[in-house]
Amino acid sequence: MIPESLAERRIAVTGSTGFLGTALVERLLRSAPGCELVLIVRPGRRGATRRVERDIFRNDAFDALRDQLGPDGFAEMTTRRVTAVAGDVTIDGLGLDDEGRAALASCDTVIHSAAAVSFDSPLDQAVEVNLLGPVRIVETLADLRVAPHLVAVSTCYVAGSRRGSAPEEPVDASPFFVDVDWRTEVEAARRIRRDTETASRTPERLVGFREQAHRELGAAGTPGLAAKTEQLRSRWVDDHMAESGVARASSLGFPDAYAYTKALGEIATAESAGAVPVSVVRPAIIESAIAEPSPGWIRGFRMAEPVIISYARGLLKEFPGVPEGTIDVIPVDLVVAAICAVAARGPLDPDDGPDIIQVASGSVNPLRYGKLVNLVREWFTEHPIYDDMGQPIPVPEWSFPGRGRVKKQLQRAGTMLDHAQKVFDVLPVRGRQAEVGARLEEQRELVHRAEGYVDLYGAYAECEAVYGLDRLLALWDLLDDDDQAAFCFDPRVIDWDVYAPEIHLPSVVKAGRIPMKPPARGGESRSSRLRRQILAPERHLVAFDLENTLIASNVVASYAWLGSRRLNGRDRVRFVAGLVAEVPTLLSLDKKDRSDFLRYFYRRYDGAPVDQISIDAAEKFSELILTKSFPAAIRRVREHRALGHRTLLITGALDFVVEPFRPLFDEIVCAKLGVVDGAYDGQLTAVPPTGEARYQALVDHAAAHDLDLRESVAYADSASDLPMLEAVGFPVAVNPETRLAGIARKRGWLIEDFRKSPGMHRNLLPLAPKRTVGTSR
């Protein structure tokens, strides 16, 4: 009787925040009412107890139990039976404090289900968690001088990529195992991390990362570019480590780093176990629950789901695999039940053979790959996913080609999109067109991700190993009827024709929040919801950029207008010709560094009389600035003011240019020129507010007026404004250029398309009209 055996037991569980772990905790609390649990979790920022509360008990797995006990009863039960302990299997001694050590020492059983299951984890991370994790557990237990029963969760795929039967035997007992020393592998993984870190820091690489950051962000200012550069470097290291993992794994005959590190982990644990009796449970591919805690229950996005969704989105036109091959899927509740049964049974006598059981379906109730694909296609044909235009996406028919061909197809698509993206990046487009670019980028990422799936999961689809279940079935036969009813782990009960379409797929699309209906007409759209949030009275501060956010004009146009206002005839022509000739220089300077550009450009105001400029600037406001303004943007500023928000204009334009905007803003941060003898000297009096200086101006302003930036809004048009946009809780991209459009789309920012008033005639050059009559003023 499993519940009786587990009664009075204290069971430690690692990995309880994971998919398998959560289901296991739920089952133990519900079906083994006598046991107590010690949950070892990484404490995070909130501490172990809060984390257990938030990340485990709030999961919908516990809905049934909570309903049954009532909220108070549930809280009382968890408080009484569950102890949260801060710990981490990647730290020697598990990072336990004295209390934690005492709690662990008091346990009769330890179930180790923590794992780096991601198939593309960096090699060293997989090694630390999967290989060394269980070793550290047994070492800690030895240190505590206790020897509870350790149930270590592994994977069937430790058998490696092979054809034919894979029995429940130790990894190194297999004739196909390539004998490597796990300690050497650990050392190597750590060394590769060090080498990769070093390699990422060579001057050439760092320059490369910086150039890439500049390509992605534009002239975002030094701090912005530095943050991006470091992010790119660290991503490069991780990618490299993931690649190293896959490469090392396949060199030894494993499908990926996960299986490889798990396999060595089993060997290492056996070697280090000492007095601790170890039972290994090896599930195949764990998928959504068939019945418990509820049919279809799933947590997180698992292995098959991204592939299934990519397929339903029409992205995976093909996937490698042989139709008669077996996809060894096992519902999570069966795995949980098997673990419970093993824990209840206790360690096996060494004479009874290796204490290993596999939980899989392939040998007794195989799900053929071809059949699975058919089930998936039928289901999505009946329940299509909708694209963002609200049209159902037709699912492709697969012809089961080899992996190489699929990859080639995807690579071709990816390369094409890469090229299109590059073309788009250099085009000076904004607003709607730029959003096309952003969508292109999204497509490109999806295709690249699909390519990644083929790389990672192709090996599984092609795997033709059959996992032996002798010990599992023997254990099953030992159970009495009650246990068999409460702790079912017999893979023969799965009816794939029901499980796939009625349980698994609906749960996958639900967990993935996939649009299964065309978007409802008339409902509030995402952007109007965002707009409502932005225009809520509780917002504090609203910062605006000027150029291309409020007006479609720039400092060069302002200068051209002011400079030409009092010129006639030949002088005018000469002025225009000079400015036009300089355009390429100006553009390239602006691209490199906005502040340098402004400094350089503003020098030409040297000697301009202040009085005259102030009169002319007022005229320019009407004739140039307002003509090129975005009425909707100005209306937005005024809406914010009406709501009592503080409004702030931050611009690199000069004070006399923006002065007429004064009534719209509580404060204007802009560039100012020095004055000598009633004329401008062409020198800026302070650092012009661009890039990070803009961010700083915003932060300073908020601090000075005791305003919360998280409750604030910022409007800007360019990736160089990222520091400012990222600083506030409600960023708005206005007519964004391609890079910002992409970023805004990805992060779900509001994108506004503000336009000039239609019907205004456009002058090719922003020159003041020729003055035909009189000059008196």
């Binding site: 307002l626 003509t627 009425p631 009559v773 008196s776």
Partner: protein, 536 residues
């Protein structure tokens, strides 16, 4: 055509099978429309009256021989006095007239007399109320370079600023509780000389000063839905609540001791010239020569392919060769009586009976888009406000009848001149088109908005409340009409205003028959040149 025949009065054509197609104004272009025979009529304006042979002489004559209880102008002028000359703004006349502008002639004459009398404290104010400021070029055009160069540089010639907190005073309250707000400079002057161009019957009289030199505080008492709905029509002084309110205010201004010497002028109907490219717009279609027909077809073909912006430029450069038909000066009310007679002499066309459907071709210009864009709100105001109200007696169209206008009505605005129009169109009309609700819910907010006030005072924007007045201007028509259809309009813009859009006149007539039944009577008002229907 020969100019020596006496100008013919307005005319009502009964359309029969032999009637030629009629030219409809259509923004910066024209449509040629065949009206259904036997139940349609076309009202033609009178031909231009002969202008006065010696305008400057006539002006001097009027200043020396005032009407009503007034001394001749020279007798009112003395050294050391404060003199303010206020004049009509860019909204008059339409289109702007060729140089020299009447205002220039009159102002030069007044200034000559002032100089002779030794007056040196003289201010010239463009009495624009809450219209946009006039630009330097526009002021030069109105008053002439000589006057401009003499007075503008030292700030003695300027635009009225109704939002200048120090520049406005309230002179009192009428028995109806209306605040009389007035320019401080004018109020504190020993004499205000007002220089008017009386283009339509609504202009002039006490309205010149009581409205032109006022601001929102005063205007809101008569520029509102109630007044407009009780003016049947506002072009007919006898039946205009707008007129009555301005006259009450005029009395308060007079009682406050403000001495006004009113100079009113009228012009003839020579809007498009007796010669030149637009001359045939002043001719009756059945009298066109073969050459006229060729010329029209050529012009229409050209305009049809020309981009809007180019067309706008061409049309806004047109200046009318208006001739002065009368000038009278003196006491406001006595002067205005004579002026009105002179306006009616040119404009009134007797028409018998109302019609089921009234059609109008909407031209490219109205009082508020000189050198600018005729936006949808202005199309509404010109059609349902000005043209609809150009009647005496009864509206041309019966109650519950249909108004069909022809205009491209693009969703276009000038952001410098009409910033509050843009927001009115996007926000207010998106919510409701009911003038009463608009007035109640939004007027105050727009009128007191600091940004609009800033743009009105410092840029060239109409006041924030101005689009509301445009909408109220049409409120009598909105109440009276069963349906409004715009032929050739931008569907989104037309629907935003609560009207219907038709692509051809035939479609519009089909749509109208839902409201007025089959075989309706149709009247086309061929305006401009301006006509006012005297409906019996």
């Amino acid at each position: 055509m020969t100019g020596h025949l006496a100008p013919r009065p307005g005319f009502v054509l009964d359309v029969d099978r032999n009637s030629p197609p009629i030219v409809f104004h259509h923004g910066e272009g024209f449509r040629l429309e065949k009206l259904p025979p036997d139940r349609s009529r076309v009202i033609y304006p009178a031909e231009p009256l002969e202008g006065l042979p010696d305008p400057d002489g006539a002006i001097r004559e009027a200043l020396l021989n005032p009407i009503g209880e007034s001394d001749p102008l020279p007798a009112l002028l003395r050294p050391g006095m404060k003199l303010t000359i206020a004049f009509d703004d860019i909204s008059l006349p339409l289109p702007p007239m060729r140089r020299p502008d009447i205002r220039q002639r009159v102002i030069e004459a007044v200034l000559d007399l002032a100089a002779e009398a030794g007056v040196d404290d003289v201010h010239l104010i463009a009495a624009l109320a809450i219209h946009r400021r006039m630009t330097e070029d526009e002021l030069r055009h109105a008053v002439g370079d000589r006057v401009y160069d003499a007075f503008a540089p030292d700030g003695r010639l300027y635009n009225h600023d109704a939002e200048d907190p120090d520049g406005m005073v309230v002179l009192g309250e009428t028995p109806h509780g209306e605040d009389v707000q007035f320019s401080r400079r004018a109020a504190e002057s020993d004499l205000v000389v007002y220089v008017n161009i009386n283009l339509v019957a609504m202009d002039g009289g006490h309205k010149s000063t009581a409205t032109g030199l006022s601001g929102y505080t005063g205007l809101r008492h008569h520029h509102n839905v109630h007044t407009m709905r009780n003016s049947r029509s506002f072009m007919d002084q006898e039946n205009s609540a707008l007129h009555a309110s301005n006259w009450r205010m005029g009395k308060i201004i007079r009682d406050a001791g403000v001495k006004i010497f009113q100079i009113e002028t009228t012009v003839n109907n020579d809007t498009f010239g007796r010669e030149g490219p637009l001359a045939l717009l002043q001719k009756r279609e059945w009298e066109w020569s073969a050459r006229d027909r060729m010329q029209f077809l050529g012009m229409k073909a050209g305009l049809d392919v020309m981009p809007t912006k180019a067309k706008r430029k061409v049309f806004s450069s047109w200046q009318a060769p208006y001739a002065l038909t009368s000038v009278q000066a003196g006491e406001v009310e006595a002067v205005h009586e004579v002026t009105t007679e002179n306006v009616y002499r040119q404009h009134l066309v007797p028409v018998e009976g109302q019609t089921d459907i009234l059609t109008m071709g909407m031209p490219y210009i109205c009082p508020y888009n000189v050198n600018s864009i005729m936006n949808p709100i202005l199309v509404m105001c010109l059609g349902l406000g000005y043209f609809f109200n150009l009647y005496r007696g009864r509206p041309l169209v019966r109650e519950g009848g249909v108004l069909i206008m022809s205009h491209p009505t693009p969703w276009e605005f000038n952001p410098v001149h009409h910033p509050s129009y843009i927001d009115f169109f996007e926000q207010v009309l998106a919510d409701t088109t009911d003038p009463v609700e608009i007035e109640k819910k939004y007027e105050k907010q727009y009128a007191e908005d600091e940004w609009y006030i800033h743009l009105y005072r410092n840029s060239y924007a109409y006041h924030g409340v101005h689009p509301f007045y445009m909408w109220y201007w049409g409120s009598h028509a909105l109440q009276h009409l069963g349906r409004v259809i715009i032929v050739g309009g931008d569907p989104a813009a037309v629907r935003r205003m609560g009207f219907q859009v038709a692509s051809t006149l035939q479609d519009a007539l089909e749509m109208a028959s839902d409201v007025v039944g089959p075989q309706p009577t149709i009247t086309h008002m061929k305006n401009p040149p301006i006509l006012m229907a005297d409906v019996t």
